[in-house]
Amino acid sequence: MDWLNALIVLANFVVVPALTYGSQLALGALGVTLVYGILRFSNFAHGDTMAFGTMATILATWALQSLGMSFGVLPTALLALPFGIIGTALYLLATDRLIYRFYRRQRAKPIVLVIVSAGVMFFTNGLVRFIIGPGDRNFADGERFIVTAREFKEMTGLSEGLAIKTTQGITVLTAIVVVALLFWFLNRTRTGKSLRAYSDNEDLALLSGIDPERVVIVTWLIVAALATIAGTLYGLDKTFKPFIYFQLLLPLFAAAVIGGLGNPLGAIVGGFIVAFAEVTVTYAWKKVLGYTLPDDIVPSGLVQLLSTDYKVAVSFSILVLVLLFRPTGLFRGQSL
């Protein structure tokens, strides 16, 4: 039994990727849950908002690169992020002003807003493809690895290597910073508390003199930042292609629902649950079993519960389970 090597394989193929993916999902799910909790609808356009944000960041990255700027070992996209966020914020504020505000003033049923958000999704999807084309865009530059598999093996003398990509490290670090900032904002600032109050009890918030329009604007600004950062991190880590962000919609919603729609902490926990579930269920455990079990009982097949094509089934199954057994989510959210 070679526990150390088994652990390293586990870390390399399961833990590190799941942590990274979980951070990306957590940031995305935070955006979904905030819109649900404060603006009270499920925003189907969120995936494509992430695409838009990433697109804006990519364009800014290209601009910076053409000016000869770079960020050393880190991707230039990090420098371009603020511009991407600003662009996305403007877009979201425009869609709110032109589209959502009308229904909000009318106190329309939530399903109406969902359908409208689907229309916005449609439009945004086309817009992103129109501006940047439907193809692959790899915009990560800078140093690729923090530690390569070979370096690791040399350092530790083990036969298995643990590679940590720069993008993975950046993702986790950025997620921690962003979440910390968000929670500080929500819990320690007057504006942040007013957002929570508005989400908690809208009528009382209005009675307390909280300006609803200001709440809406601040919410969209935060959502823009979260979506752009999440999308950019995802695009840096994997690659940018407009349609993959639509495919993230289901895992994002699963994460938000698991944690309890409207509950930010829940969205984060949900993101990691979905990520770890997806990675572990679609991982081929043969190697790890090979290190931990006696040779004669190691199975011959790949020992993969579900093929990676069925990743979507994992988040969907989790979603169904939550809906069946605990629709309010792990942390009591604002559902039903």
């Binding site: 007057r190 508390k193 929570r196 908690d200 009890n201 918030a205 209005l206 009675l207 307390s208």
Partner: protein, 236 residues
């Protein structure tokens, strides 16, 4: 007689096409407690909502400190010094007691720590539970949070919609004690109450509404002593 501090005169109106109020008049003066009682459906809460601007008035108007406030929205009336404690859903359940009070003072740009200290002095239990989410408190304690929240703006007048609804008699007594203390601070208090007898006992002024009209008015003590009032609404 000088103009009362807060008066809703000849109020006539309702939520839609049907009128609920038919020319009733409610007033309260500085340092006074005025109580609105009456049978169910008499329009007590409606009258209060009319004073607060949540109703379309066909006739009559509301005046604060002599000036008409009919044009102001409820939020604007808050900013002009009216405090309102709704009957239900009157706290932010997921926020702590302290945060609830902070939200109460939202429109204030100055330092409101003094006011918060006053509220804690008034409701000591809130100070004890300041870090607890308001939704986890008992019914009576939640009502105290609700009143405390409304007091954070240093309102010129405070309106309470059935503050003792659903609380035990002991808690009700305590709440009424607190309300008397608030009135003693000089703030006029207007209260709609279901527990007519106990409410009238602390009232300087009482209004008995029946079907949206003033049926009886007078001091609390006088109304309590009145045979007709006693027989019809106080259960003899």
């Amino acid at each position: 007689m000088s103009e009362p501090f807060l008066v809703g005169e000849n109020l006539t109106g309702g939520y839609g096409s049907a009128d609920i109020l038919h020319g009733c008049t409610i007033a309260v003066d500085k340092g006074e407690i005025a109580v609105i009682v009456g049978p169910n459906g008499a329009g007590k809460s409606t009258a209060m909502k009319a004073l607060f601007g949540m109703l379309v008035l066909r006739k009559g108007g509301v005046r604060l400190e002599g000036r008409s406030i009919d044009e102001l929205s409820p939020s604007q009336r808050v900013m002009n010094g009216m405090g309102f404690v709704p009957q239900t859903s009157n706290v932010f359940p997921s926020m702590t007691v302290e945060e609830n009070l902070e939200m109460g003072a939202f429109i204030r740009r100055d330092d409101f720590n003094d006011t918060m200290t006053e509220v804690f002095d008034l409701f000591p239990i809130l100070k004890e539970k300041r870090k607890q989410p308001a939704g986890q408190l008992s019914g009576g304690q939640r009502q105290q949070v609700a009143v405390g929240r409304a007091l954070m703006t240093r309102p010129k007048a405070l309106m309470l919609d059935e503050p003792t609804a659903g609380v035990s008699p002991i808690v009700m007594d305590e709440l009424f004690d607190r309300i008397i203390e608030v009135a003693a601070m000089g703030i006029p208090i207007l209260m709609v109450e279901q527990n007519a007898r106990q409410a009238l006992a602390i009232a300087d002024h009482g209004y008995v509404l029946v079907q949206g009209r003033n049926a009886f008015s007078g001091s609390g003590a006088a109304l309590l002593a009145d045979d007709e009032v006693r027989k019809s609404f106080l259960g003899g």
